[in-house]
């Protein structure tokens, strides 16, 4: 029985349990009207939950656990044959392929169950080829034995799985139905179950994050085994070469990231904040009703479009002004791709983040505070500067830090606007690149995934993650400190 069939049967049992338990509760209610603790549906739901919840959970665990168990029970068969540098996972993969090939052959009737068991190892490869399963090498007797054992074990496992899961569902349903008596607090039971669902959703989100972080950490450790950490963190040259002998210093990339982000924030924070203040405090309702969505539309533009804008419009415009022979006669800029180009465009991209959030935050400042200030004879801008903005500050800091982490994580605009040269330079009109852009280029090449040149992407990602995390922690700290002071 396949897992999906089992799940369907469990759900059917749950539905039956629902109907039965509800009917039972209703019958009891008819006899002793008003004595029912909860509405009949709640009794139905308890039975359904008792039936489906544990059974489906067990099914999920079983699906994960069975292959692991089977593998460890099968391995001893192969272990004798495995040489010095055998890779167990590769050998087991062959076994699994053979086992599932035999399964398929039996299922399609090409082989009888008897034949599948008795076929000598030499004939197996041909038989599998006929089934469309390509095996890399001749099948050794040990592999065949292992595959047969695998088939036997998983056959038993599958059977057991069906029996146990469905049995559990039936037992749950029966228990749920038997508890459907008037004084059973079905409503509270359902409440508990709801709570369980919510808790597990939260847990899932946290566990996923932990999983991602763990994956990052393991690969980063792997990288540092191949490449010295000190050179990674303090190296000032970034020149990966897939032939070996790369220099993978993060500093030029970090510098590029910071430089571009700072320029972007210098553009986005004042403009966004002023726009927010105008919208929240001065704009007429009608102006606001179209101006705010317009600003927010900026946030909906895909970043690749901003990248094009940087490459095709902003870059050339800047070159005209600051480039060699430009009308300012400065000659600071060599080409269209530069920190300035990417920073300006990224700043434009971030304006709506800052303005939209700040606008909401400023609007959330109670009108009574403004009234209090105006009532004392303060002007509008005095009120904004001395009462509204201080009250809104924690939120605004949050908005700015959010924009900062967007800036640090942004990739497309950098690739198209800032160039690909990893360089440590003070000149904002030089081409530079960032951590994210380099992660992309390290992984899109055809590098071997276990080489330091590819694994460095994880170390870069980890560094970015730590920086953004630190940014968030700082934001929280600022907000909390401010709260203590004023609330």
């Amino acid at each position: 029985m396949t897992p999906s069939w089992i799940a369907l049967i469990v759900l059917a049992i749950a539905a039956a349990g629902f109907v039965l338990a509800r009917a039972r509760a209703q019958a009891a209610a008819r006899r002793e009207a008003r004595r029912l603790h909860s509405l009949p549906n709640y009794y139905g739901w308890t039975a359904a939950i008792y039936a489906a919840g544990p059974a489906l959970l067990l099914l999920a665990i079983w699906l994960v656990a069975q292959p692991i168990a089977t593998r460890s029970l099968t391995w001893p068969v192969l272990a004798a044959e495995a040489g010095e540098n055998a890779v167990p996972s590769l050998m087991m993969a062959d076994v699994q392929r053979l086992a599932s090939g035999l399964d398929a052959a039996v299922a399609t009737g090409r082989l009888t169950a008897e034949e599948a068991r008795a076929l000598p190892p030499e004939e197996l490869r041909a038989a599998m080829a006929a089934q469309g399963v390509a095996l890399g090498s001749e099948v050794t007797p040990a592999t065949r034995d292992a595959a047969l054992r695998w088939r036997r074990l998983s056959g038993t496992g599958d059977l057991l799985r069906g029996i146990v899961v469905i049995g559990l569902a039936l037992a749950g349903a029966a228990w749920g139905v038997s508890r459907a008596k008037p004084d059973f607090r079905a409503r509270n039971a359902v409440e508990q179950a709801m709570r369980g669902v919510l808790v597990s959703a939260a847990l899932l989100a946290i566990l996923t994050t932990v999983g991602i972080v763990l994956a990052l950490i393991f690969n980063t450790i792997e990288f540092f085994r191949l490449y010295p950490a000190a050179e990674f963190f303090f190296g000032t040259t970034w020149s990966p070469s897939f032939g070996g002998g790369s220099e993978l210093g993060i500093l030029p990339l970090l510098w590029g990231t910071l430089y571009i982000s700072i320029i972007a924030l210098l553009v986005a924070v004042p403009i966004g904040l002023f726009a927010a203040i105008y919208l929240a405090e001065y704009a007429h309702r009608n102006v606001r009703s179209w101006a705010k969505p317009m600003l927010e539309m900026l946030a909906g533009i895909p970043t690749i479009v901003y990248g094009l804008f940087a490459l095709l419009t902003v870059g050339p415009l800047l070159v005209e002004a600051f480039g060699r022979g430009g009308y300012l006669g400065l000659g600071w800029m060599q080409g269209g791709t530069a920190v300035m180009t990417a920073g300006l465009v990224m700043g434009i991209m971030l304006i709506p983040f800052v303005s939209s959030l700040s606008d909401d935050i400023i609007n959330a400042v109670p009108q009574s505070l403004r009234d209090g200030s105006l009532g004392l004879g303060a002007t509008r801008s005095e009120t904004i500067r001395q009462v509204v903005l201080p009250a809104a500050l924690p939120g605004i800091v949050g908005a700015v830090l959010l924009a900062a982490s967007r800036a640090i994580g942004e990739t497309m605009i950098v690739v198209l606007g800032a160039g690909a040269a990893a360089r440590l330079s003070m000149n904002p009109f030089d081409a530079m690149t960032t951590v994210t852009a380099k992660i992309v280029s390290q992984l899109t090449g055809d590098a071997d995934f276990s080489s330091p040149e590819a694994l460095v992407a994880f170390a870069l990602g980890m560094t970015l993650f730590v920086i953004t995390l630190a940014l968030n922690v700082v934001a929280l700290w600022i907000v909390r400190r401010y709260r203590e002071q004023y609330e």
Binding site: L374, L376, P390, E487
Partner: protein
Amino acid sequence: MNDMRTMDNTVLNETKITARDVNVHYGTTHAIKGVDVDIADRTVTAFIGPSGCGKSTFLRCLNRMNDTIPGAVVTGEIKIDEADIYDSRVDPVQLRAKVGMVFQKPNPFPKSIYDNVAYGPKIHGLAKNKTELDEIVEKALRRGAIWDEVKDRLHAPGTGLSGGQQQRLCIARAVATEPEILLMDEPCSALDPIATAQVEELIDELRQNFSVVIVTHSMQQAARVSQRTAFFHLGNLVEYGETGKIFTNPEDSRTESYISGRIG
């Protein structure tokens, strides 16, 4: 106006505020309907009336706080010291420095207690130096009957005070700018009897120099602190006169019903 009874002629002081045919609309709501009133200098005037009758609205006309409400339209004429406050040459910001206001709900700024009180004086440059500012703040807090409670924590946040303390802080904040007229919208609704008595004392003291207009739902309070009382009903000024007369011998039957608790 038909709704306004002529008050008896025992004018206590000269007139500070004159309102003629004042109407306020909030969009389609007609909140104040043709109100005429003369408010005397150095007098406490109480506005009473059932909830929603327009007391706060009329009070806000007197310092042009209605300007800040989108959709509020004020017509008619209001003069303070013979000068029309709705004249286009009048700067509402200047006006509000002269006509202080304490709001229905306490609204301390998210600043320290000291900065709350110092806010107005700083904006209007009332203090030349820190010592003077300190003096102004202390005096205002004393007048707000809250000095003893906060003198040891002047730099703690004003929002951390209890509701009643916050309201007294707001009173101190309004008094600190030395307004000529103080508008108080139910200043005691969040206060306990002791603090109420202190605020009432303060109001009585303020009367020496200022004219005070107070909105209250407490008949006893109106009777205790005010010299004149105005009764509003459904946007109309029904009756206005000496407090003693309004409470003992009202002319309008609606006033009598309200005072004796039959409408409200």
